[in-house]
């Protein structure tokens, strides 16, 4: 039983390597976005990327094809260890560059990449214990081995951020389409909407040079939303009436979009003091 499970690791490891090789060979230009650029330099990066993909192609083919030799599996595990080293290098030296492992999607190195490389190492070590070629093991115990392979493949896919756009995003999109989690909002008029309307109004433009602050305060008054700003009046001669400080008060229609109806009043600070006493 254990030997059957060990044998089918050949096809998992081989399959992932072949997949990685094909993706790399199809789009060698992606090499420029990987941490490999930092490692071998801009000039040699495409050649190095091709070399890695050729090694993966050969090893993948050897693992999938007969005969089953333990050294293939150890080579696969060694490649996995090398991958872990490369990821660690990328994480430290070029954290924002792409891993370039299993696709040309730009995905910075994160925990999932390390876990996936770890899975490959474990699969390689396990595969070394397989004595038979993998189809024999599948024929021997079809249900258990195929089930295990599917589960492992699902694990590798789940640990591949390059593939998120194929399954994770559509799944989340579908979930949101089913019932939008943010759909049950109450119909309040956001303050931002009133501020937008205010900015489009002639009333605001006419005093914009006198405004000193951003929005100070706001409240609702019937069908209006009142917005206040600190302002400065230049009606005085520079003496008397305080320092020309004032409050600009705007009334913006709350429920409709009517920028032309926006009203403004400039209330000098001195008047506020007078009326309050």
């Amino acid at each position: 039983m254990i030997e059957s499970f060990a044998s089918v690791q050949q096809v998992l490891l081989g399959g992932v390597l072949l997949w990685a090789a094909v993706v790399k060979l199809r789009n060698p230009g992606a090499a420029h976005r990987t941490a490999l650029k930092r490692l071998v330099g801009e000039r040699r990066v495409v050649a190095a990327y091709r070399a890695v993909s050729c090694a993966e192609l050969v090893l993948g083919a050897l693992l999938v094809a007969p005969p089953a030799v333990a050294v293939e599996a150890y080579l696969g595990a060694a490649l996995g260890v090398g991958m872990l080293g490369y990821l660690a290098y990328a994480k430290i030296k070029a954290p924002e560059s792409s891993c370039g492992c299993l696709g040309d999607k730009e995905t910075p190195v994160r925990t999932r990449g390390f876990l996936r490389a770890g899975v490959m190492v474990v699969a390689g070590v396990l595969a070394a214990f397989g004595t038979a070629w993998w189809p024999a093991a599948v024929v021997d115990r079809p249900l258990a081995t195929v089930g295990l392979l599917v589960a492992e493949a699902a694990l590798v896919v789940a640990l591949s951020p390059e593939l998120d756009h194929r399954w994770l995003l559509p799944l989340r999109r579908w979930r949101v389409r089913l019932s939008h989690p943010l759909a049950s909002r109450t119909g309040v008029i956001p303050l931002e909407s009133s501020v937008q309307q205010l900015r489009k109004s002639g009333a605001f433009r006419s005093v914009t040079d006198q405004l000193r602050s951003d929005l100070l305060d706001s409240w609702e008054e019937g069908e209006w939303r009142i917005l206040t700003y600190a302002a400065r009046t230049d009606n005085g001669t520079g003496t008397g009436t305080g320092t020309g400080r004032a409050t600009a008060v705007f009334a913006v229609p709350l429920l409709d979009y009517r920028p032309d109806d926006v009203r403004v009043a400039l209330v000098p600070e001195a008047d506020e003091v007078l009326t309050s006493s």
């Binding site: 999109r173 939008h180 109450t186 119909g187 309040v188 931002e192 909407s193 100070l216 009326t275 309050s276």
Partner: protein
């Protein structure tokens, strides 16, 4: 004047239900005072603008904030009742806490303090794409960094295709790009969302 009385007074001033004060209509103003505007923007190209400060709050006392900027310089910022303070929404002077990030604009006083006209606390402006939507929150991806965006009922607004802001966020979609204005929660990767700009 207490704040409620003041609001009532200002409402009356603008809505004109009682002639209590010098109410200046929009049409009668029209003075664009270019010299006043020029005095405000006194920094020329390449110079540090003396009337602007950015940094983190290291001490917050009544009406006075001490801030260290990213260039390690220290600034004292004076706040008054005429200073607008933004922290997710327009708020009051005492909202500033130690550790908050800050942008302030005002006038530099002879003693070196900045008399602030406007202060924005923890404000961030990010171009992101939405990676998932949950109840009261969204996961956002900002150049590979994950950010948690909290939806604040009654405050978070959405602007779709540059139309007026609405509180309905149900047109936001997973996988789409968006621009968000929000208030960062200091020293976390979390942001309280003020406005989300998206295509719909």
């Amino acid at each position: 004047m207490d704040s409620l009385g003041r609001r009532k007074f200002l409402s009356k001033a603008v809505l004109g239900t009682a002639a209590v004060t010098t109410v200046v209509g929009a049409s009668s103003l029209g003075s664009f005072a270019p010299e006043a505007a020029a005095a405000q923007h006194s920094a020329s190209a390449g110079e540090v603008d003396p009337n602007f400060v950015e940094g983190r709050v290291i001490s917050a006392q009544k009406g006075m904030l001490v801030v260290t900027s990213t260039d390690k310089s220290m600034h004292r910022i004076h706040l008054t009742g005429a200073t607008s303070v933004w922290k997710l929404r327009p708020t009051t002077l005492d909202a500033a806490k130690v550790g908050d990030g800050l942008y302030a604009r005002g006038v530099r006083m002879p003693d070196g303090t900045l008399a602030a006209d406007a202060v924005w606390l923890n404000i961030v402006n990010l171009t992101v794409h939405i990676t998932s939507i949950g109840r009261n929150m969204m996961h956002l991806d900002h150049r590979g960094d994950r950010i948690v965006g909290h939806v604040i009922a009654g405050t978070t607004a959405a602007v779709y295709n540059s139309t007026p802001a609405v509180s309905d966020l149900s047109l936001l979609q997973v996988g789409k790009h968006a621009q968000v204005i929000g208030a960062w929660r200091p020293d976390t990767n979390e942001v309280d969302l003020a406005t989300v700009y998206a295509a719909a």
